[in-house]
């Protein structure tokens, strides 16, 4: 099938934090093209995927194929600030290695 991109790119600037303490259960995400709090409304509730590679190949339970790609799924919870950043929580917390990494913001669950 022709590859289609059905997600927006986002970056993980870090966890929710005050200056000296951080809450690693909530990650922040800056979505490409989203620069105001009003724009965030579309993305609320959307699923997010942090895709990364492991060393060893594993069998994907759904596609049954061996692959090195792994995912951590999460969901966008709410806006963060007024410049379009967003808070997301993942099924397991994002590893610190994800800071600065890209994340995929899917278009589902869709409300359009």
């Amino acid at each position: 099938m022709q590859p289609v991109k059905l997600f927006s790119k986002g970056v993980v600037p870090g966890y929710r934090r005050g200056q000296r303490n951080q809450d690693s259960s909530i990650s922040l995400i800056k979505i490409e093209g989203v620069t105001t709090k009003a724009d965030v409304d579309f993305y609320l509730g959307k699923r997010v995927a942090y895709v990364y590679r492991g060393q060893k190949s594993r069998k994907n339970k759904i596609t049954k194929r061996d692959t090195k790609l792994r995912v951590i799924w999460g969901k966008i919870r709410r806006a963060h600030g007024s410049s379009g950043a967003v808070r997301a929580s993942f099924r397991t917390n994002l590893p610190p290695k994800a800071i600065g990494a890209t994340v995929r913001v899917m278009l589902y669950p869709s409300r359009e």
């Binding site: 022709q2 289609v4 991109k5 059905l6 997600f7 927006s8 899917m106 278009l107 589902y108 669950p109 869709s110 409300r111 359009e112």
Partner: protein
């Protein structure tokens, strides 16, 4: 039950089934029955029969399909049509589709009763468990759809295809894939 021995009275009444020696110290609580069932999901106002939807996930992601009606389980019944983009009569959850403003008139399209009433119609064939003798044989897995499905697909699509041909560019639109691009 007859019992031997002199002074034992000859026979005794004995239960045919003996009670088990073990019983739990506390009676095990029966779990409460869960009678909750998801209701029919409310259909978004942007989705009406004949709307073209974009599928967001699954094998057919990115494809534009025609929405037919909502089934009793709340899932949406859509069709490619199959000839145009390879999507058969299929159920999809509402949250995995984006409604477009493109619309065709399907008010007079009749869908086979089976598809609407019987959701098991859409379920796949259960995988046959391999018995140990069969394991060493090469079994040809038939991935062909059931004949009934092919027939129903044709009935529905034959009604929709002329409507699509009637709208300029719609056929091409349905056969193209949706993708997010720069900007």
């Amino acid at each position: 039950k007859e019992i031997g021995g002199d002074k034992n009275g000859g026979s005794r009444i004995v239960p045919t089934q003996r009670e088990s020696r073990y019983y739990p110290t506390e009676d095990v609580r029966r779990r409460l029955a869960n009678r909750k069932k998801p209701g029919m999901a409310k259909l978004r106002s942007s989705i009406t029969p004949g709307t073209v939807l974009i599928l967001l996930a699954g094998a057919h992601r990115g494809k534009r399909v025609v929405f037919l009606r909502q089934l009793n389980s709340g899932l949406l019944l859509v069709t490619g049509p199959y000839k145009i983009n390879g999507v058969p009569l299929r159920r999809i959850p509402q949250c995995y589709a984006i409604a477009t403003s493109t619309h065709i008139d399907v008010s007079d399209v009749t869908i086979p009763e089976q598809c609407i009433i019987n959701e098991a119609y859409f379920k796949g064939e259960p995988k046959k468990k391999k018995r140990s003798e069969d394991m060493f044989e090469e079994t040809q897995d038939d991935k062909k759809p059931r004949e009934q499905r092919i027939k129903d697909q044709k009935t529905v699509d034959d009604q929709i295809l002329p409507k699509i041909s009637g709208v300029s560019h719609l056929k091409k639109y349905l056969s193209s894939l949706f993708s997010l691009r720069k900007g």
